[in-house]
Symmetry: D3
Subunit: 281 residues, 6 copies
């Protein structure tokens, strides 16, 4: 269970309102790689971890911190929306700055949330659990976590470039630093697991059940051979099990598929002279 | 532009129909980490790559291959649905096997797709681009690609355990091997980029603009200290810029937030004795 | 079944076109608490009502009226879009008013709907039945109806503040009045049901099967004790069954959860020295 | 910011695994009125509250508790999935109990989450922020909260009826009791606000701007007059401003709408002999 | 505006409950091509029609009828769910018929809707306005309407095959007949418009602005020449403007794209020796 | 399987960047009727075609071409975004052109995709497979294909009107011409199938099982008789099976529905004096 303290983990106070920027900042609150995503992703991974110990604790520590980041961003967005104008075009025509604000802000910040933050991204798509994963396999999940922190920090950095407000930048400099730490930590945890398990997820599937002849082969399926110069095209494979090979003109292993007609009760396109279809059971 | 050849990249023929398994197999066709996801993710990343060369080619090669995997799975699913029964409970009551099939198959495979594959997952959620990312930053994106191949291979392996059909297992053994190769290749590409850029994405944001004091610090925000024993809690940070530190009882850096009342035209809860709110402009 | 008459329930004619406002007005047509939501919510509740009588009739009366409101809003939006410009930036640069319109209108009003209303909200999210509920329990559902009319009227009032067009305001003054009536009517119906059933939904679950000791207890799980001053923290409970109590420092009733390892065929993270897991069946 | 303690708020341990019930229990974890919905709804309402004091504290207290309920349900679901079978139809045919489990469980619990809980409902729809609202108007929002606790308790009670497992029922008896308290508390808070503001949301819109003649009128728009017998059809209105009136045969106030043709650059259906359409600007 | 009469447009009474079939029948109520889709699609097209007359009336007539079909299906589904069991696996084990029902019914029919119909499809996806279109161009829209009636009738016919209940089949025989009429009517309306406008939508774009040399050309982009034998590969084009031509080995008209590097403030992958990028403005 | 060649099918180079237009152009890339929709729709229809031959080949040819269109649009959008500004309001205030760009562009083009195209429409809704269908019945599906090409060409033409950039117009003139061809081809294929099967889908359901008396009847369910003047109201039906008839005042065929009360374990609204409900089994 959880306890909440009132102090923010870090300051979240802009120097002045900026409703247009509030719209943009929603991306790292409620977007695909925003703070809601990492908070719920880490918590679900933690709750589903079978086997106590440091990984579960790591997930709960970090998921709990991300809730604080959601809180900081929600607070910052509410303040950026302070006193946002909602007037009509006539008023806007008289004052170009208000006009720009009215044109660029998210209308739902006024109509729906009453100048509050929303669980949505910078164009208004509501947050969805489609964004997250908790698979039960920690190496697979930590890779998603490293991805989320990478994409999230990238977005925070781009948002940093989009404002000159010292208060906003101060908060972003905190979040960007935390994203550095979180990339570091998932990287460290991944290294630990890769050392134990080899790099390919899942590590527990018997290798001989895979089609060996294509397990370390690069297929050149698009024009041009630039891809042949990469590390993935020759030399020992990263999993140390074989050598990479490069197939310049890969062909098909399978046949031309021919599907059997559907039974009449499906009412697909009627086929003249249809072959005999024996019943399933 | 693309050309299509009729032969499948690999065989996709089950020994016998199995509509219940067809439903499950949809997961790696149209689910969060299914083949549609990787195909469109790699192609969009390739099309958006600014700077020609081996990475764009690598993305186009692999994205094009994934289209072939979509095709193989669609074919396999159509065959698993061959002659699927659609009858009512009465018929089912007379034949427990048909009853089990009717209860376990996806009704849309009969009603909507006419015994064909659908761009949906194993519970019927339609595929959505919420699943994918192409950010313009290749290290961030390759990490997502490695994640997708890890989660996708994990799911393929679990599906392998759920059938004994030799034809299905044969196809899965091919896909599982390709997922091994693809994990290897994104791993190799990631290593190249990390060597050039350091491990933290993006590498181009000036370090001094980050809040240094929290950039390598672990905050213990959940009860218990198991997380202190991990590699992420002490020793040199993975980005080689500092030392990890562990804060056992982290406090707040920020203040208790107090938001200003909304202007009257927003019609939020009326506040008695409300403080003066100067207009925005 | 239904019949349609051509006259609008009320006027829906703006004084002049305003494509930017058309975009905003979409919120109460196709948004979370827009007219499509209340129309379909009331009709589904009506169709599902088991037990004829006044509540079913009430639902059908009101659901049928809401269809007329959808129609009024669709008509108003089409007129606000009359002759909307679609030109490019060059033209816009020459005329700031056109520029403001082009920047602020929803591009789909030109590209997709051809200057017609859309079943979407003010940022373009398509209407979804995620917004509505028909549970079979009328008290639970009437509370949702009262909520929908409250949120909907709030949004209509905010939209009233965003325009000075007399025609738009005239139509909104009708809708805002109807929302007053509808809040009144659901309130009245709720009072009737609460009198019969007590206030807690559902009223038919045996009280002794609930964990009595926490059924009227307030847990203070966030810092600060402001919440202790509310009506919910002391005095007789609203359901008249007990007294409210306030727990200033609530603890846990449960234990630390320890999950059993997953079976090998799930291929979760391998656990060294894993405990014996007996099979399920 | 938040802290996490390891102990569950209440026990979450079934007597035995039941993967089919795990699927159903997802409804109150990740469904429309599940615990994720109330947790995020209350937290967002709390963060957006402008004006400190008891309501913000109330929201933070309760939102923080709901996170503990998400945790309990996630733990319970993981345990209900312990050792869930994943085999094929052949195996199922040999053992009807396994067959029933395989047919009734959510395949994503094996393929996607590796026997863990998912942020999804009982048919697999992922959680979406479409479910929740934080409007800045507390009376409107508390009504949504009362609704959510009513629908949520109703679902919990129905789920109680669907199992005989003492461990599951024990946990549900706790949640059902908490939902009683939460209905009580929102009811109490609503009473306070209604006393101050009158019952119609928002209370701050000048009454004279509403179309008075329809503000307390019931329109009988569906066949039958059962609705005329309700409290909403006669007597003083609930907002004490007027008397309810019942219109047995309501007519239209508006005209037949005639829309102007679209400009040629929209390429709608060409209209022969179209009337002159003056340009917008 | 609308009026509702209590009588159903046609009977909707099954001979006996069948909760499993109720789940399937949801497809034509709330699925992609279900009755909600056609009702709202026709109504929105009608409301957006610019130019009064027979097409607007046609749309309103048919849209209003579809609301009656939604009602019939909702009623039928509620009756199919009459007294549906909700018990647990133990009870199910004792009675295979109940077991089959429990395994095959939609759990939300019990937990969420209380034995009522839902605005969702046969696997539980909620209805979304993503399914429909009203473009302002009637020929384009009537083609969508003909499509919807074709897909809808196909699904109704498949559902007819899935039951032997005389009451259900009776209702379906009505809906299937209406879908025949509706296919006929959209077909008739399409013929009228095509006669006036030629077959290509939109008919108002000047032909000379199209790239003439590819306007009637078939590109053979997949292996095999079966497509060359169709009507579309030779002979006069259907729009009577030219002759179809078949290109057996189509090449590219464009060049290899080379994108310019992103500016530094975007923080994409850093490019060594990047070319000079002049600023945009 | 597929091969990719580097050359674009046609040029995709604007004369100058235009980030605002890039946002709009997303509609025909990732919108409801954009190129992703037709590509995946045709490919899935092709893969599901049971019966080899010209229709499968036709579908694969065209689906493969649409992938090239996705590529062209992605390339064009990336170029329209070249060097897009991301600055704040202050900078914008100094330069009205930059201000207009900042206000009108999609913020995700900077924050999320790093100046790349996205699988989304012009307001940012991510692409979803809700948009497409592959039913197994080719006549039903070809009608959807003709619809998609009609709606898609309409949108491309509207976008042509929205720009004066010669490079963008050149590419659109190619796509508009291809949409002409594709309308022609689906039209031709439809004619072939209609000749064989009659016009009503599906053609294989026995006519006598339909409710004959309503199979060719037009119901006038909305006020006014304009619809009686259409081809669909009199004369031989389009399917040549009967005569159209027009019912000016259609009544109900069914009864007033009365639903049985729900069983107690569902906890719907309690009904006093409820009738006896015999158990289901």
């Amino acid at each position: 269970m959880f306890y909440h303290v009132k102090h923010l983990q870090y300051h979240a106070k802009p120097e002045r309102p900026d409703p247009v920027y509030a719209k943009k900042l929603q991306e790292i609150l409620g977007g695909q790689f925003g703070e809601i995503s990492v908070a719920l992703q880490y918590l679900f991974q933690g709750w589903n971890t079978r086997g106590d110990g440091k990984y579960r604790d790591l997930l709960m520590d970090t998921g709990t911190e991300e809730l604080a980041h959601v809180e900081m961003l929600a607070t910052m967005i509410a303040r950026l929306l302070d006193g946002a104008p909602v007037g009509d075009q006539e008023a806007a025509a008289k004052n170009p700055v208000i006009g720009a604000v009215l044109g660029g802000m998210n209308p739902q910040h006024a109509i729906v949330s009453g100048l509050g933050a929303m669980p949505a991204d910078s164009v208004g798509n509501r947050w969805t659990a489609d964004y997250i994963i908790a698979s039960g396999n920690l190496l697979a999940d930590f890779r998603m976590n490293l991805t989320a922190e990478s994409q999230g920090r990238l977005q925070a950095v781009r948002l940093y470039e989009m404002t000159t407000d010292p208060g906003v930048r101060d908060m972003l400099s905190f979040l960007i630093a935390r994203d550095r730490m979180h990339q570091n930590q998932w990287y460290a945890a991944i290294c630990e697991l890769e050392e134990k398990e080899n790099i390919v997820v899942p590590s527990t599937f018997p290798t001989h059940l895979e089609k060996q002849e294509v397990a370390h082969t690069f297929f050149n399926l698009s024009e041009g051979h630039e891809s042949s110069t990469g590390r993935w095209a020759s030399g020992p494979s990263m999993d140390s099990l074989s050598e990479f090979t490069y197939v310049a003109e890969p062909g098909a292993f399978g046949r031309i598929p021919r599907l059997r007609p559907a039974p009449p009760y499906i009412h697909n396109t009627p086929i003249v002279d249809k072959p005999h279809v024996p019943p399933m059971f």
